[in-house]
Symmetry: C2
Subunit: 450 residues, 2 copies
């Protein structure tokens, strides 16, 4: 977390590498905590990585692969030969290892898997898509048979020596492997040794299914404050467990996705650190779409070109009308997208909410339009200009409130992401309607404007 600490370690690593002391460089890297190591590691130059990598222990390599971002982890994995990668993956949590394997070329992944000792923990995770409960869960959890006693469970726990990433809950399965209950370590600790787990387990268990979307899982865990949630298949057989720190990543990812989509960045794995070529390619499509809608708005203005030649001052203020609509719409849109994302906006209240946002847009329009209209009247000494500007602003901000709240709801009802494309659609509306309203009023009151 401490940037100077990472900075200092980087300096020591570089100095050691220059002096040819690879082991001392590794020691400096290992002094950092795993998450910080990953950050330092990505700052190294390619030749520095090449010098360091062959000397890293499988354990340190495993930690690095765990902490790096997906894209970076795969790049690192691809530079390792099959044996060394298998050794490192063996030391990772099964879900993290599966993530790395899933991003590799399939043939390479199969070769690595064949070399792995812990392949049986990882293999069941491979078929699940990344952003589902199955893709997020780990198979390293502890399950108890229904017939066990508290003492037996503790004995079992002692034998498996759970790692630090194993959830703090024990899941109880029946003979068919179906999830029938959950026991916290706390309850186990407090139970009398001979008590049957069946007697004190909690049998009303929250669970999700392997194919559930990660966002649904996150919403459920956050809503009910769960530290971990079991994942079952269609037969309710326990397949894995998702724990709270996995869900933090999901919540951050989903927030990033919404934020990006409202800014017309459709790829949520893009960041400010992405390479130039990737950034240009992935951000360009939405800029082209924006250009098309901008030209459409320009076409609206083009219909009033002779009017503008007569009353050029209209060209000065047309963007104010469009812009104020855009700003109002962005507010309504963002509030609606966030409410949908947090599960606070159902279809029930939809109509009332849209009308309410329309009312708010209208009121904002009256407040802003009157002040701006008055100001422009005084500035340009033209009452008609101030008047039509005020009216156009009121009208466009009313539309903006309605459309801003409506578009995400419509996208959602079409089973599309409410954040995706909303802002383009909405600002196209506010631009076109803003220009048409203001210039149309200008045409109607031409004699007064001249």
């Amino acid at each position: 977390m401490d940037p100077t600490q990472i900075e200092n370690a980087l300096e020591r690593i570089r100095a050691a590498l220059e002096a040819g002391e690879v082991q001392s460089a590794i020691d400096s890297l290992r002094e950092l905590r795993p998450a910080d190591r990953a950050e330092a590691f990505v700052d190294l130059e390619d030749d520095e990585v090449a010098a360091l990598l062959p000397e890293l222990s499988p354990r340190t390599t495993a930690r690095l692969l765990t902490e790096l971002e997906d894209q970076q982890a795969v790049e690192l994995a691809e530079t390792l030969d099959t044996d060394r990668l298998a050794e490192a993956l063996d030391r990772m949590a099964p879900d993290e290892a599966a993530d790395v394997l899933g991003d590799l070329d399939p043939q390479h992944a199969a070769d690595v898997l064949a070399e792995m000792e812990a392949a049986e923990g990882v293999r069941p995770l491979l078929p699940f898509p990344d952003k589902t409960a199955g893709g997020r869960m780990t198979t390293s959890f502890i399950s108890l048979p229904l017939s066990i006693s508290a003492a037996g469970a503790i004995e079992l726990l002692r034998r498996v020596e759970p790692g630090s990433d194993t959830p703090y809950y024990l899941y109880v399965q029946d003979m068919a492997g179906r999830l029938v209950g959950v026991v916290g370590m706390r309850e186990l600790l407090l139970a009398s040794p001979e008590a049957a787990v069946q007697g004190f387990m909690k049998s009303k268990v929250n669970f999700v299914q392997t194919h559930d979307d990660q966002e649904v899982v996150a919403r459920l865990m956050s809503r009910y404050g769960l530290g971990a949630i079991p994942v079952v298949d269609d037969q309710r057989v326990l397949r894995g467990v998702i724990s709270h720190d996995d869900i933090l990543d999901v919540i951050e990812q989903e927030a990033t996705e919404d934020l990006y989509r409202l800014a017309n960045i459709s790829s949520s794995d893009l960041s400010i650190d992405s390479p130039v070529v990737t950034s240009v390619r992935r951000r360009l499509p939405w800029l082209y779409i924006n250009a098309v809608t901008a030209l459409f708005a320009a076409w609206v203005i083009a219909n009033f070109q002779t009017l503008i030649a007569q009353v050029a001052v209209l060209a000065v203020f047309q963007s104010v009308v469009a812009g104020m609509g855009g700003n109002t719409a962005t507010q309504s849109l963002t509030l609606m997208v966030r409410a949908i994302a947090l599960g606070e906006q159902g279809a029930r209240q939809a109509k009332r909410t849209v009308l309410k946002e329309g009312l708010i847009g209208l009121l904002h329009g009256v407040f802003v339009g009157s002040v701006v209209g008055l100001g422009v009247w005084l500035w340009k000494r033209n009452l008609a200009l101030g008047g039509i500007l005020a009216v156009a602003i009121v009208g466009n901000m009313l539309v903006a409130g309605l459309v801003g709240a409506l578009v995400p709801l419509v996208l959602k009802s079409l089973k599309l992401d409410p954040a995706l494309a909303s802002s383009v659609i909405v600002t196209t509306f506010t631009d076109c309607i803003g220009f048409a309203l203001f210039l149309g009023l200008g045409a109607a009151f031409l004699p007064q404007l001249l």
Copy 2:
């Protein structure tokens, strides 16, 4: 989570209330899980709440107060008389009770506190601001003396009967109350009974201080995957514990805040469900600021009014230049704000990143400008118009990339929130520069345009 379940419960509650069967209405409410109850409760009309409230048990009231949003919880608390509120608060987690008390009128809060039995757990939490570690922590944690054995710790645990919201870790304090170690329930379970806690506790403990910002805490817990983190004061005396579900709220809150601020909504407790008056008042200031900047951009255009009267077609395309700059800038801005929020963007790489975004803007400008310029040349049969449009787009998108990345960094270095006001500042730049570039080029190439 299941909307139909809530909907059905609401119907049953209403039917029961109409039939005057308050107890049956309460039973229907209690069949829902606490988080769902809160959602159903806020959908009730005032007279329905008034009928239900006097009959709710202190425990059910406590659950409701815990699950409601802050604002709603306070409104509910204010309708309860001092005794009943005190009874309910006694049954809440100390940090949740402190939150409610902190939002009440100070005199009312003092009266309620005087009636409470659990006041001593709540009182130490009251001085801490809401969004700090102190404001987020709970005092209901379990601490162990340094000298205790594993068996002694289990005995102590049995005596205090920890509630379900108590973290899964036990904190070890020295004689002065200073935090010296942490023991997981798992380790306690696996330790031999006579082993001293001092021998197997982890003495390298992550901790935060009471005055730390909640965002710092969230970042730390998410980065290192912590299930709970102890909070200490300046003397390293243990004061409280923050657990993973508190931090989920923080992460969602901070994401909401960034999203809102980029959309010029400065108050993060606003939502699409806020009352009209609150919404109008809180969202209006930024709309006024936007109006001022829009008028400034209009003033830029006003300088070219005689040019526009001669070549009205310029008024058709000026907004395309400004808009494409705005879109490019929004992308850079959003990526930068998010990177800063996730702690991925330090001052180290700042200069390189800004230049890179400038390069990306330039490349995007070339791609978009050439296509739009070509299209407009063919549309309006005017080569000079297409040419100056293309050049102005390239120039404005270059500026947009630079400014979009730079502004959040500058705001951050001034210790301001990088999300707040960035989008207004940046789009003011891209509007003004876009208009000036395009119309300036128009003036320079006037003979070719006519």
